[in-house]
Protein backbone atom coordinates (compact mmCIF):
# COMPACT_ATOMS: atom_id res chain seq x y z
CA UNK A 1 0.00 0.00 0.00
CA UNK A 2 2.92 2.26 0.80
CA UNK A 3 4.11 1.79 -2.77
CA UNK A 4 0.88 3.20 -4.13
CA UNK A 5 1.09 6.31 -1.98
CA UNK A 6 4.73 6.81 -2.90
CA UNK A 7 4.08 6.45 -6.60
CA UNK A 8 1.11 8.77 -6.35
CA UNK A 9 3.28 11.40 -4.65
CA UNK A 10 5.99 10.97 -7.28
CA UNK A 11 3.51 11.27 -10.15
CA UNK A 12 1.85 14.24 -8.53
CA UNK A 13 5.16 16.07 -8.01
CA UNK A 14 6.27 15.50 -11.60
CA UNK A 15 2.94 16.68 -12.95
CA UNK A 16 2.84 19.74 -10.70
CA UNK A 17 6.27 20.92 -11.88
CA UNK A 18 5.08 20.56 -15.47
CA UNK A 19 1.81 22.37 -14.78
CA UNK A 20 3.64 25.26 -13.10
CA UNK A 21 6.00 25.64 -16.07
CA UNK A 22 3.04 25.51 -18.49
CA UNK A 23 1.08 28.12 -16.54
CA UNK A 24 4.10 30.41 -16.46
CA UNK A 25 4.49 30.05 -20.21
CA UNK A 26 0.77 30.67 -20.77
CA UNK A 27 0.96 33.85 -18.70
CA UNK A 28 3.98 35.04 -20.71
CA UNK A 29 2.41 34.27 -24.10
CA UNK A 30 -0.91 35.82 -23.15
CA UNK A 31 0.85 38.92 -21.90
CA UNK A 32 2.93 39.25 -25.08
CA UNK A 33 -0.17 38.81 -27.25
CA UNK A 34 -2.13 41.39 -25.31
CA UNK A 35 0.78 43.84 -25.38
CA UNK A 36 1.11 43.41 -29.14
CA UNK A 37 -2.55 44.25 -29.64
CA UNK A 38 -3.41 47.53 -31.38
CA UNK A 39 -6.16 48.02 -28.78
CA UNK A 40 -5.03 50.53 -26.16
CA UNK A 41 -6.14 49.27 -22.73
CA UNK A 42 -5.79 52.71 -21.13
CA UNK A 43 -8.07 54.22 -23.76
CA UNK A 44 -10.59 51.41 -23.19
CA UNK A 45 -10.41 51.97 -19.44
CA UNK A 46 -11.07 55.69 -19.83
CA UNK A 47 -13.90 55.02 -22.29
CA UNK A 48 -15.37 52.67 -19.71
CA UNK A 49 -15.35 55.41 -17.09
CA UNK A 50 -17.88 57.30 -19.15
CA UNK A 51 -16.71 60.72 -17.97
CA UNK A 52 -14.29 63.27 -19.36
CA UNK A 53 -10.75 62.83 -18.06
CA UNK A 54 -8.29 65.62 -17.45
CA UNK A 55 -4.71 65.19 -18.71
CA UNK A 56 -3.49 64.87 -15.11
CA UNK A 57 -5.95 62.08 -14.38
CA UNK A 58 -4.96 60.36 -17.60
CA UNK A 59 -1.31 60.56 -16.62
CA UNK A 60 -2.22 59.07 -13.26
CA UNK A 61 -4.04 56.16 -14.88
CA UNK A 62 -1.14 55.62 -17.27
CA UNK A 63 1.25 55.55 -14.35
CA UNK A 64 -0.95 52.99 -12.62
CA UNK A 65 -0.96 50.80 -15.73
CA UNK A 66 2.79 51.37 -16.13
CA UNK A 67 2.57 52.47 -19.76
CA UNK A 68 5.95 54.24 -19.64
CA UNK A 69 7.74 51.18 -18.24
CA UNK A 70 9.41 48.64 -20.55
CA UNK A 71 7.25 45.57 -21.28
CA UNK A 72 9.51 43.18 -19.34
CA UNK A 73 9.11 45.19 -16.17
CA UNK A 74 5.37 45.48 -16.73
CA UNK A 75 5.12 41.70 -17.14
CA UNK A 76 7.07 41.09 -13.94
CA UNK A 77 5.01 43.51 -11.90
CA UNK A 78 1.78 42.05 -13.32
CA UNK A 79 2.98 38.54 -12.55
CA UNK A 80 3.94 39.40 -8.99
CA UNK A 81 0.57 40.99 -8.31
CA UNK A 82 -1.17 37.95 -9.85
CA UNK A 83 0.83 35.72 -7.50
CA UNK A 84 -0.36 37.89 -4.64
CA UNK A 85 -3.93 37.27 -5.75
CA UNK A 86 -4.49 40.68 -7.37
CA UNK A 87 -5.64 40.22 -10.98
CA UNK A 88 -6.39 43.91 -11.51
CA UNK A 89 -9.65 45.68 -12.13
CA UNK A 90 -11.86 44.89 -15.10
CA UNK A 91 -12.44 47.97 -17.26
CA UNK A 92 -15.73 46.54 -18.53
CA UNK A 93 -17.41 45.63 -15.26
CA UNK A 94 -15.55 48.07 -12.94
CA UNK A 95 -14.87 45.35 -10.41
CA UNK A 96 -11.83 43.31 -9.36
CA UNK A 97 -11.19 40.54 -11.90
CA UNK A 98 -10.83 37.90 -9.16
CA UNK A 99 -14.34 38.71 -7.94
CA UNK A 100 -15.82 38.38 -11.43
CA UNK A 101 -13.95 35.12 -12.03
CA UNK A 102 -15.25 33.64 -8.79
CA UNK A 103 -18.84 34.65 -9.44
CA UNK A 104 -18.92 33.67 -13.10
CA UNK A 105 -17.06 30.42 -12.60
CA UNK A 106 -19.82 29.29 -10.25
CA UNK A 107 -22.32 29.65 -13.11
CA UNK A 108 -19.98 28.08 -15.67
CA UNK A 109 -19.15 25.20 -13.37
CA UNK A 110 -22.83 24.28 -13.00
CA UNK A 111 -23.15 24.34 -16.80
CA UNK A 112 -19.94 22.43 -17.54
CA UNK A 113 -20.42 19.79 -14.85
CA UNK A 114 -23.97 18.98 -15.96
CA UNK A 115 -22.89 18.85 -19.62
CA UNK A 116 -19.86 16.75 -18.71
CA UNK A 117 -21.88 14.20 -16.74
CA UNK A 118 -24.64 14.12 -19.34
CA UNK A 119 -22.29 13.57 -22.29
CA UNK A 120 -20.29 11.00 -20.32
CA UNK A 121 -23.29 8.89 -19.34
CA UNK A 122 -25.06 9.21 -22.68
CA UNK A 123 -21.90 8.70 -24.75
CA UNK A 124 -20.82 5.71 -22.69
CA UNK A 125 -24.24 4.08 -22.86
CA UNK A 126 -24.57 4.61 -26.61
CA UNK A 127 -20.98 3.45 -27.13
CA UNK A 128 -21.63 0.20 -25.23
CA UNK A 129 -24.81 -0.38 -27.23
CA UNK A 130 -22.95 0.21 -30.51
CA UNK A 131 -20.20 -2.18 -29.45
CA UNK A 132 -22.64 -4.95 -28.58
CA UNK A 133 -24.61 -4.49 -31.81
CA UNK A 134 -21.46 -4.05 -33.88
CA UNK A 135 -21.97 -4.00 -37.64
CA UNK A 136 -25.70 -4.55 -37.32
CA UNK A 137 -28.22 -1.82 -38.14
CA UNK A 138 -28.41 -0.11 -34.69
CA UNK A 139 -24.63 0.25 -34.72
CA UNK A 140 -24.52 1.54 -38.28
CA UNK A 141 -27.30 4.05 -37.61
CA UNK A 142 -25.80 5.34 -34.36
CA UNK A 143 -22.35 5.55 -35.93
CA UNK A 144 -23.75 7.75 -38.70
CA UNK A 145 -25.45 9.95 -36.10
CA UNK A 146 -22.17 10.28 -34.20
CA UNK A 147 -20.23 11.25 -37.30
CA UNK A 148 -22.79 13.87 -38.26
CA UNK A 149 -22.89 15.26 -34.71
CA UNK A 150 -19.13 15.67 -34.64
CA UNK A 151 -19.42 17.89 -37.72
CA UNK A 152 -22.10 20.13 -36.25
CA UNK A 153 -20.78 23.36 -34.71
CA UNK A 154 -21.84 23.80 -31.08
CA UNK A 155 -23.30 27.25 -31.56
CA UNK A 156 -25.51 26.16 -34.45
CA UNK A 157 -26.83 23.25 -32.41
CA UNK A 158 -27.57 25.76 -29.65
CA UNK A 159 -29.42 27.98 -32.13
CA UNK A 160 -31.49 25.02 -33.33
CA UNK A 161 -32.42 23.97 -29.79
CA UNK A 162 -33.25 27.57 -28.95
CA UNK A 163 -35.46 27.82 -32.03
CA UNK A 164 -37.28 24.53 -31.45
CA UNK A 165 -37.70 24.46 -27.68
CA UNK A 166 -37.86 28.16 -26.78
CA UNK A 167 -39.36 29.92 -29.78
CA UNK A 168 -41.66 27.27 -31.24
CA UNK A 169 -42.59 25.01 -28.34
CA UNK A 170 -42.00 27.65 -25.62
CA UNK A 171 -40.91 24.92 -23.17
CA UNK A 172 -37.74 26.66 -22.09
CA UNK A 173 -36.63 30.28 -21.57
CA UNK A 174 -34.56 31.90 -24.33
CA UNK A 175 -31.58 32.67 -22.15
CA UNK A 176 -29.91 33.95 -19.00
CA UNK A 177 -29.41 31.95 -15.81
CA UNK A 178 -32.52 33.24 -14.01
CA UNK A 179 -35.81 35.01 -14.81
CA UNK A 180 -35.32 38.66 -15.75
CA UNK A 181 -36.17 41.23 -13.09
CA UNK A 182 -35.36 39.14 -10.03
CA UNK A 183 -32.42 39.78 -7.70
CA UNK A 184 -29.94 37.01 -7.04
CA UNK A 185 -31.50 36.19 -3.66
CA UNK A 186 -35.02 35.71 -5.07
CA UNK A 187 -34.05 33.09 -7.65
CA UNK A 188 -34.88 29.56 -6.61
CA UNK A 189 -32.82 26.49 -7.39
CA UNK A 190 -35.61 25.15 -9.59
CA UNK A 191 -35.53 28.27 -11.76
CA UNK A 192 -31.75 27.99 -12.10
CA UNK A 193 -31.97 24.36 -13.22
CA UNK A 194 -34.78 25.23 -15.62
CA UNK A 195 -32.57 27.87 -17.24
CA UNK A 196 -29.59 25.51 -17.30
CA UNK A 197 -31.15 22.65 -19.25
CA UNK A 198 -30.86 23.90 -22.84
CA UNK A 199 -27.27 25.24 -22.58
CA UNK A 200 -26.16 22.06 -20.83
CA UNK A 201 -27.71 19.82 -23.49
CA UNK A 202 -26.06 21.92 -26.20
CA UNK A 203 -22.67 21.66 -24.56
CA UNK A 204 -23.00 17.95 -23.88
CA UNK A 205 -23.27 17.18 -27.61
CA UNK A 206 -19.75 18.52 -28.04
CA UNK A 207 -17.95 15.50 -26.61
CA UNK A 208 -20.79 12.99 -26.85
CA UNK A 209 -19.82 11.45 -30.20
CA UNK A 210 -16.15 11.37 -29.25
CA UNK A 211 -16.76 9.33 -26.12
CA UNK A 212 -19.35 7.12 -27.84
CA UNK A 213 -17.06 6.17 -30.73
CA UNK A 214 -14.16 5.57 -28.35
CA UNK A 215 -16.26 3.33 -26.11
CA UNK A 216 -17.58 1.44 -29.13
CA UNK A 217 -14.06 0.63 -30.31
CA UNK A 218 -12.99 -0.54 -26.84
CA UNK A 219 -16.07 -2.74 -26.40
CA UNK A 220 -15.41 -4.31 -29.80
CA UNK A 221 -11.78 -4.96 -28.80
CA UNK A 222 -12.90 -6.72 -25.64
CA UNK A 223 -15.61 -8.68 -27.45
CA UNK A 224 -13.05 -9.93 -29.96
CA UNK A 225 -10.72 -11.15 -27.23
CA UNK A 226 -10.31 -14.80 -26.33
CA UNK A 227 -11.79 -14.50 -22.86
CA UNK A 228 -14.92 -12.91 -24.31
CA UNK A 229 -15.12 -15.77 -26.80
CA UNK A 230 -14.80 -18.24 -23.94
CA UNK A 231 -17.51 -16.40 -22.02
CA UNK A 232 -19.72 -16.66 -25.05
CA UNK A 233 -18.97 -20.37 -25.31
CA UNK A 234 -19.98 -20.76 -21.65
CA UNK A 235 -23.32 -19.36 -22.67
CA UNK A 236 -23.12 -15.85 -21.24
CA UNK A 237 -25.54 -13.42 -22.85
CA UNK A 238 -24.62 -9.96 -24.16
CA UNK A 239 -25.68 -8.16 -20.98
CA UNK A 240 -23.80 -10.55 -18.70
CA UNK A 241 -20.67 -10.13 -20.81
CA UNK A 242 -21.14 -6.38 -20.72
CA UNK A 243 -21.22 -6.28 -16.93
CA UNK A 244 -18.63 -8.98 -16.28
CA UNK A 245 -16.01 -8.18 -18.90
CA UNK A 246 -16.62 -5.09 -21.00
CA UNK A 247 -17.39 -2.47 -18.37
CA UNK A 248 -14.29 -3.17 -16.30
CA UNK A 249 -12.02 -2.74 -19.29
CA UNK A 250 -13.81 0.17 -20.90
CA UNK A 251 -14.79 2.39 -18.00
CA UNK A 252 -11.33 3.66 -17.09
CA UNK A 253 -10.13 4.73 -20.56
CA UNK A 254 -13.49 6.41 -21.13
CA UNK A 255 -13.21 8.29 -17.85
CA UNK A 256 -9.66 9.33 -18.69
CA UNK A 257 -10.74 10.56 -22.09
CA UNK A 258 -13.57 12.49 -20.48
CA UNK A 259 -11.19 14.17 -18.04
CA UNK A 260 -8.78 15.14 -20.79
CA UNK A 261 -11.58 16.83 -22.76
CA UNK A 262 -11.68 19.82 -20.40
CA UNK A 263 -10.18 22.11 -23.06
CA UNK A 264 -12.97 21.41 -25.53
CA UNK A 265 -15.50 21.68 -22.74
CA UNK A 266 -14.29 25.14 -21.80
CA UNK A 267 -14.04 26.26 -25.43
CA UNK A 268 -17.53 24.96 -26.11
CA UNK A 269 -18.91 26.72 -23.06
CA UNK A 270 -17.80 30.04 -24.56
CA UNK A 271 -20.07 29.35 -27.53
CA UNK A 272 -22.99 27.85 -25.61
CA UNK A 273 -22.98 30.71 -23.11
CA UNK A 274 -23.00 33.29 -25.88
CA UNK A 275 -25.93 31.69 -27.67
CA UNK A 276 -28.00 31.49 -24.50
CA UNK A 277 -26.74 34.77 -22.93
CA UNK A 278 -25.73 32.65 -19.94
CA UNK A 279 -23.66 34.76 -17.52
CA UNK A 280 -20.62 32.51 -17.15
CA UNK A 281 -16.89 32.77 -17.79
CA UNK A 282 -17.29 32.08 -21.50
CA UNK A 283 -19.58 35.00 -22.20
CA UNK A 284 -17.30 37.18 -20.02
CA UNK A 285 -14.32 36.06 -22.14
CA UNK A 286 -16.01 37.07 -25.38
CA UNK A 287 -17.14 40.38 -23.90
CA UNK A 288 -13.63 41.07 -22.56
CA UNK A 289 -12.03 40.32 -25.93
CA UNK A 290 -14.50 42.48 -27.86
CA UNK A 291 -14.44 45.32 -25.33
CA UNK A 292 -10.65 45.42 -25.02
CA UNK A 293 -10.79 44.55 -21.31
CA UNK A 294 -7.18 43.40 -20.92
CA UNK A 295 -7.10 42.46 -17.21
CA UNK A 296 -10.23 40.33 -17.49
CA UNK A 297 -9.01 38.65 -20.70
CA UNK A 298 -5.67 37.77 -19.09
CA UNK A 299 -7.41 36.52 -15.95
CA UNK A 300 -9.76 34.26 -17.90
CA UNK A 301 -6.94 32.90 -20.06
CA UNK A 302 -4.89 31.95 -17.00
CA UNK A 303 -7.93 30.49 -15.33
CA UNK A 304 -8.88 28.40 -18.37
CA UNK A 305 -5.32 27.03 -18.57
CA UNK A 306 -5.49 26.12 -14.88
CA UNK A 307 -8.82 24.39 -15.47
CA UNK A 308 -7.49 22.33 -18.40
CA UNK A 309 -4.33 21.40 -16.49
CA UNK A 310 -6.43 20.20 -13.58
CA UNK A 311 -8.38 17.92 -15.92
CA UNK A 312 -5.21 16.53 -17.48
CA UNK A 313 -3.70 15.98 -14.04
CA UNK A 314 -6.72 13.93 -12.97
CA UNK A 315 -6.54 11.95 -16.22
CA UNK A 316 -2.84 11.18 -15.67
CA UNK A 317 -3.37 10.17 -12.06
CA UNK A 318 -6.30 7.95 -13.01
CA UNK A 319 -4.22 6.20 -15.58
CA UNK A 320 -1.09 5.83 -13.51
CA UNK A 321 -2.61 4.84 -10.20
CA UNK A 322 -6.01 3.28 -10.70
CA UNK A 323 -5.27 1.05 -13.67
CA UNK A 324 -4.03 -2.26 -12.22
CA UNK A 325 -2.13 -3.17 -15.39
CA UNK A 326 0.05 -0.05 -15.36
CA UNK A 327 0.43 -0.40 -11.60
CA UNK A 328 1.75 -3.95 -11.94
CA UNK A 329 4.15 -3.04 -14.73
CA UNK A 330 5.68 -0.16 -12.81
CA UNK A 331 5.93 -1.99 -9.50
Amino acid sequence: MKGTVGRLACLLAGNLVKILSLLLAVSLIAFVLVTASPVDPVQQYILGLGTAVSPEQRAQIEAYWGVDQPPVQRYLSWLSSVLHGDLGVSSLYRRPVAEILAERFGNSLALMVSAWVLSGLLGFGVGCAMGLFRDRWPDRLLKKVCYVLSSVPTFWLGLLLLLIFSVWLKWFPTGFSSPIGLTQAEVTLGQRIYHLILPAVTLSFLSFSNIALHTRQKVIDVENSEYALFARARGEGALTRLFRHDLRNVLLPALTLQFSSFAELFGGSVLAENVFSYPGLGSAAAAAGLGGDVPLLLGITLFSALFVCAGNLIANLLYGVVDPRIREVEA
Binding site: L22, P153, A263, E264, L271, A285, S304
Partner: protein
Protein backbone atom coordinates in the same frame (compact mmCIF):
# COMPACT_ATOMS: atom_id res chain seq x y z
CA UNK B 1 -9.13 -9.39 -58.64
CA UNK B 2 -11.73 -7.73 -60.80
CA UNK B 3 -13.83 -6.78 -57.75
CA UNK B 4 -10.76 -5.13 -56.21
CA UNK B 5 -10.15 -2.98 -59.27
CA UNK B 6 -13.80 -2.02 -59.34
CA UNK B 7 -13.79 -0.99 -55.72
CA UNK B 8 -10.66 1.06 -56.15
CA UNK B 9 -12.10 2.74 -59.20
CA UNK B 10 -15.34 3.41 -57.36
CA UNK B 11 -13.56 5.04 -54.45
CA UNK B 12 -11.48 7.12 -56.82
CA UNK B 13 -14.54 8.24 -58.77
CA UNK B 14 -16.33 9.22 -55.57
CA UNK B 15 -13.30 11.19 -54.40
CA UNK B 16 -13.09 13.07 -57.68
CA UNK B 17 -16.83 13.77 -57.63
CA UNK B 18 -16.65 15.13 -54.08
CA UNK B 19 -13.65 17.29 -54.95
CA UNK B 20 -15.51 18.63 -57.99
CA UNK B 21 -18.57 19.54 -55.92
CA UNK B 22 -16.39 21.35 -53.37
CA UNK B 23 -14.51 23.20 -56.10
CA UNK B 24 -17.85 24.11 -57.68
CA UNK B 25 -19.17 25.64 -54.45
CA UNK B 26 -15.91 27.51 -54.01
CA UNK B 27 -15.94 28.90 -57.55
CA UNK B 28 -19.62 29.82 -57.31
CA UNK B 29 -18.95 31.81 -54.15
CA UNK B 30 -16.09 33.66 -55.81
CA UNK B 31 -18.06 34.40 -58.98
CA UNK B 32 -21.08 35.93 -57.25
CA UNK B 33 -20.68 39.70 -57.58
CA UNK B 34 -21.07 41.97 -54.55
CA UNK B 35 -24.07 43.74 -56.16
CA UNK B 36 -26.08 40.53 -56.34
CA UNK B 37 -26.03 40.41 -52.53
CA UNK B 38 -26.99 44.05 -52.00
CA UNK B 39 -30.77 43.43 -51.77
CA UNK B 40 -33.45 45.94 -50.85
CA UNK B 41 -35.63 46.65 -47.83
CA UNK B 42 -38.72 45.83 -49.88
CA UNK B 43 -37.73 42.18 -49.65
CA UNK B 44 -36.65 42.14 -46.02
CA UNK B 45 -37.32 39.03 -43.95
CA UNK B 46 -38.99 36.87 -46.60
CA UNK B 47 -39.46 33.18 -45.99
CA UNK B 48 -37.85 30.72 -48.43
CA UNK B 49 -39.53 30.77 -51.84
CA UNK B 50 -38.66 29.82 -55.40
CA UNK B 51 -36.92 33.11 -56.13
CA UNK B 52 -35.09 33.07 -52.78
CA UNK B 53 -34.55 29.41 -51.84
CA UNK B 54 -32.96 30.33 -48.48
CA UNK B 55 -35.22 33.35 -47.88
CA UNK B 56 -33.90 36.87 -47.25
CA UNK B 57 -32.39 38.44 -44.15
CA UNK B 58 -33.51 41.54 -42.26
CA UNK B 59 -31.78 43.81 -44.81
CA UNK B 60 -33.43 42.08 -47.74
CA UNK B 61 -30.29 40.30 -48.91
CA UNK B 62 -30.68 36.91 -50.54
CA UNK B 63 -29.46 34.35 -48.02
CA UNK B 64 -28.55 31.65 -50.55
CA UNK B 65 -26.09 33.97 -52.28
CA UNK B 66 -24.71 35.19 -48.95
CA UNK B 67 -24.33 31.62 -47.73
CA UNK B 68 -22.49 30.56 -50.88
CA UNK B 69 -20.17 33.52 -50.62
CA UNK B 70 -19.69 32.83 -46.93
CA UNK B 71 -18.84 29.20 -47.63
CA UNK B 72 -16.19 30.20 -50.13
CA UNK B 73 -14.70 32.67 -47.61
CA UNK B 74 -14.68 29.86 -45.06
CA UNK B 75 -13.00 27.55 -47.54
CA UNK B 76 -10.28 30.10 -48.27
CA UNK B 77 -9.56 30.45 -44.56
CA UNK B 78 -9.81 26.69 -44.10
CA UNK B 79 -7.44 25.84 -46.95
CA UNK B 80 -4.82 28.40 -45.95
CA UNK B 81 -5.00 27.61 -42.23
CA UNK B 82 -4.86 23.84 -42.68
CA UNK B 83 -1.96 24.10 -45.16
CA UNK B 84 0.06 26.18 -42.69
CA UNK B 85 -0.97 23.97 -39.81
CA UNK B 86 -0.08 20.74 -41.62
CA UNK B 87 3.26 22.26 -42.65
CA UNK B 88 4.04 23.08 -39.02
CA UNK B 89 2.94 19.59 -38.02
CA UNK B 90 5.34 17.92 -40.49
CA UNK B 91 8.31 20.07 -39.45
CA UNK B 92 7.63 19.66 -35.75
CA UNK B 93 6.82 15.96 -36.02
CA UNK B 94 10.03 15.14 -37.94
CA UNK B 95 12.17 17.34 -35.69
CA UNK B 96 10.75 15.66 -32.62
CA UNK B 97 11.33 12.16 -34.01
CA UNK B 98 14.89 12.56 -35.32
CA UNK B 99 16.12 15.27 -32.94
CA UNK B 100 17.84 14.67 -29.64
CA UNK B 101 15.92 13.66 -26.53
CA UNK B 102 16.00 17.23 -25.34
CA UNK B 103 14.43 18.51 -28.57
CA UNK B 104 11.77 15.82 -28.31
CA UNK B 105 10.97 16.74 -24.71
CA UNK B 106 10.85 20.44 -25.61
CA UNK B 107 8.46 19.84 -28.49
CA UNK B 108 6.25 17.65 -26.33
CA UNK B 109 6.13 20.41 -23.77
CA UNK B 110 5.20 22.89 -26.49
CA UNK B 111 2.36 20.65 -27.67
CA UNK B 112 1.11 20.37 -24.09
CA UNK B 113 1.26 24.15 -23.90
CA UNK B 114 -0.89 24.67 -27.00
CA UNK B 115 -3.31 21.96 -25.85
CA UNK B 116 -3.36 23.47 -22.35
CA UNK B 117 -5.36 26.54 -23.31
CA UNK B 118 -8.84 26.03 -24.79
CA UNK B 119 -8.54 26.67 -28.53
CA UNK B 120 -11.44 29.09 -28.61
CA UNK B 121 -9.74 31.24 -25.96
CA UNK B 122 -6.36 31.06 -27.72
CA UNK B 123 -7.81 31.99 -31.11
CA UNK B 124 -9.64 34.88 -29.43
CA UNK B 125 -6.39 36.08 -27.85
CA UNK B 126 -4.43 35.86 -31.11
CA UNK B 127 -7.21 37.60 -33.00
CA UNK B 128 -7.21 40.30 -30.30
CA UNK B 129 -3.43 40.69 -30.63
CA UNK B 130 -3.44 41.06 -34.42
CA UNK B 131 -6.49 43.29 -34.59
CA UNK B 132 -9.62 41.44 -35.61
CA UNK B 133 -10.04 40.33 -39.19
CA UNK B 134 -8.83 37.76 -41.66
CA UNK B 135 -5.18 37.80 -40.59
CA UNK B 136 -5.81 37.23 -36.89
CA UNK B 137 -8.26 34.46 -37.70
CA UNK B 138 -5.83 32.70 -40.05
CA UNK B 139 -2.87 32.88 -37.69
CA UNK B 140 -5.01 31.85 -34.74
CA UNK B 141 -6.45 28.78 -36.43
CA UNK B 142 -3.14 27.77 -38.01
CA UNK B 143 -1.33 28.09 -34.67
CA UNK B 144 -3.74 25.84 -32.78
CA UNK B 145 -4.45 22.91 -35.11
CA UNK B 146 -1.11 21.22 -35.72
CA UNK B 147 -0.72 19.29 -32.46
CA UNK B 148 -2.43 15.96 -33.12
CA UNK B 149 -1.07 15.65 -36.66
CA UNK B 150 2.44 16.41 -35.36
CA UNK B 151 2.10 13.55 -32.87
CA UNK B 152 0.93 11.19 -35.61
CA UNK B 153 3.86 12.13 -37.85
CA UNK B 154 6.34 11.74 -34.99
CA UNK B 155 5.07 8.20 -34.35
CA UNK B 156 5.22 7.41 -38.06
CA UNK B 157 8.80 8.65 -38.43
CA UNK B 158 9.92 6.75 -35.32
CA UNK B 159 8.44 3.60 -36.80
CA UNK B 160 10.02 4.21 -40.22
CA UNK B 161 13.45 4.79 -38.72
CA UNK B 162 13.42 1.29 -37.30
CA UNK B 163 12.88 -0.26 -40.73
CA UNK B 164 15.69 -2.43 -42.13
CA UNK B 165 15.96 -0.49 -45.39
CA UNK B 166 16.68 2.72 -43.50
CA UNK B 167 19.38 0.92 -41.52
CA UNK B 168 20.84 -0.46 -44.78
CA UNK B 169 20.81 3.01 -46.29
CA UNK B 170 22.68 4.31 -43.28
CA UNK B 171 25.28 1.51 -43.50
CA UNK B 172 25.74 2.36 -47.18
CA UNK B 173 26.85 5.79 -46.02
CA UNK B 174 23.86 7.89 -47.00
CA UNK B 175 23.48 11.08 -45.02
CA UNK B 176 20.53 11.80 -42.73
CA UNK B 177 19.25 14.42 -45.15
CA UNK B 178 19.35 11.92 -48.04
CA UNK B 179 17.44 9.37 -45.98
CA UNK B 180 14.93 12.02 -44.96
CA UNK B 181 14.23 13.06 -48.54
CA UNK B 182 14.32 9.61 -50.17
CA UNK B 183 12.92 7.32 -47.50
CA UNK B 184 10.96 9.27 -44.92
CA UNK B 185 9.17 12.03 -46.82
CA UNK B 186 7.61 9.78 -49.50
CA UNK B 187 6.21 7.57 -46.75
CA UNK B 188 4.82 10.55 -44.90
CA UNK B 189 3.01 11.89 -47.96
CA UNK B 190 -0.25 9.89 -47.54
CA UNK B 191 -0.36 10.64 -43.81
CA UNK B 192 0.21 14.32 -44.58
CA UNK B 193 -2.43 14.49 -47.29
CA UNK B 194 -5.12 12.77 -45.24
CA UNK B 195 -4.20 14.81 -42.17
CA UNK B 196 -4.43 17.97 -44.26
CA UNK B 197 -7.90 17.14 -45.56
CA UNK B 198 -9.15 16.15 -42.10
CA UNK B 199 -7.76 19.36 -40.58
CA UNK B 200 -9.83 21.36 -43.00
CA UNK B 201 -13.28 20.77 -41.44
CA UNK B 202 -11.88 21.59 -38.00
CA UNK B 203 -10.47 24.83 -39.35
CA UNK B 204 -13.78 25.77 -40.99
CA UNK B 205 -15.78 25.01 -37.86
CA UNK B 206 -13.41 27.08 -35.75
CA UNK B 207 -13.56 29.93 -38.24
CA UNK B 208 -17.35 29.91 -38.07
CA UNK B 209 -17.36 29.77 -34.25
CA UNK B 210 -14.91 32.60 -33.82
CA UNK B 211 -16.68 34.75 -36.42
CA UNK B 212 -19.93 33.98 -34.60
CA UNK B 213 -18.44 35.37 -31.40
CA UNK B 214 -17.47 38.52 -33.29
CA UNK B 215 -13.69 38.08 -33.37
CA UNK B 216 -13.19 36.91 -36.91
CA UNK B 217 -14.18 38.63 -40.07
CA UNK B 218 -15.72 42.12 -40.09
CA UNK B 219 -19.54 42.19 -40.15
CA UNK B 220 -19.82 43.38 -43.76
CA UNK B 221 -17.91 40.30 -44.96
CA UNK B 222 -20.21 37.41 -45.82
CA UNK B 223 -19.30 34.57 -43.47
CA UNK B 224 -21.47 31.81 -42.06
CA UNK B 225 -20.61 32.73 -38.47
CA UNK B 226 -21.69 36.32 -39.05
CA UNK B 227 -24.93 35.34 -40.80
CA UNK B 228 -25.77 33.06 -37.86
CA UNK B 229 -24.92 35.64 -35.23
CA UNK B 230 -27.16 38.17 -37.03
CA UNK B 231 -29.93 35.60 -37.22
CA UNK B 232 -29.98 35.33 -33.41
CA UNK B 233 -31.60 38.76 -33.19
CA UNK B 234 -34.52 37.74 -35.40
CA UNK B 235 -34.99 34.26 -34.03
CA UNK B 236 -37.83 35.20 -31.70
CA UNK B 237 -39.51 37.08 -34.56
CA UNK B 238 -39.87 33.72 -36.31
CA UNK B 239 -37.17 34.05 -38.98
CA UNK B 240 -36.11 30.44 -38.63
CA UNK B 241 -34.62 30.15 -42.11
CA UNK B 242 -31.79 32.58 -41.51
CA UNK B 243 -30.52 30.39 -38.65
CA UNK B 244 -31.31 26.92 -39.97
CA UNK B 245 -30.40 26.95 -43.65
CA UNK B 246 -26.92 28.61 -43.67
CA UNK B 247 -25.88 26.42 -40.73
CA UNK B 248 -27.13 23.32 -42.51
CA UNK B 249 -25.11 24.33 -45.58
CA UNK B 250 -22.01 24.61 -43.41
CA UNK B 251 -22.59 21.16 -41.86
CA UNK B 252 -23.13 19.70 -45.33
CA UNK B 253 -19.84 21.18 -46.52
CA UNK B 254 -17.98 19.77 -43.52
CA UNK B 255 -19.51 16.33 -44.06
CA UNK B 256 -18.51 16.42 -47.75
CA UNK B 257 -14.91 17.25 -46.85
CA UNK B 258 -14.87 14.50 -44.23
CA UNK B 259 -16.12 12.05 -46.84
CA UNK B 260 -13.45 13.23 -49.27
CA UNK B 261 -10.75 12.69 -46.65
CA UNK B 262 -12.08 9.19 -45.99
CA UNK B 263 -11.99 8.31 -49.71
CA UNK B 264 -8.47 9.67 -50.17
CA UNK B 265 -7.33 7.66 -47.15
CA UNK B 266 -8.83 4.52 -48.65
CA UNK B 267 -7.04 5.07 -51.95
CA UNK B 268 -3.67 5.90 -50.41
CA UNK B 269 -3.55 3.55 -47.45
CA UNK B 270 -2.34 0.13 -48.65
CA UNK B 271 -4.10 -1.62 -45.78
CA UNK B 272 -7.60 -0.51 -46.60
CA UNK B 273 -6.95 -0.38 -50.35
CA UNK B 274 -6.42 -4.16 -50.29
CA UNK B 275 -9.42 -4.93 -48.10
Amino acid sequence: MRALANRRARVLALAILLAAVLAGVYALGLLIPEEAIAGSYLQAGQAPSLSHPFGTDALGRDLLLRTLKGLSTSMTVGIAASLISAGIAVLVGIASAIGSRRVDAGINWGIDLVMGVPHTILVMLISFALGRGLKGLLVGIAATHWCSLARLIRAEVLQLRGQPYVAVSRKLGKSSAWILVHHLLPHLMPQFLVGLILLFPHAILHEASVSFLGFGLPPEQPAIGIILSESMRYLSAGQWWSAVLPGAALVLLVLLVDRLGEQVRRVLDPWSAQE
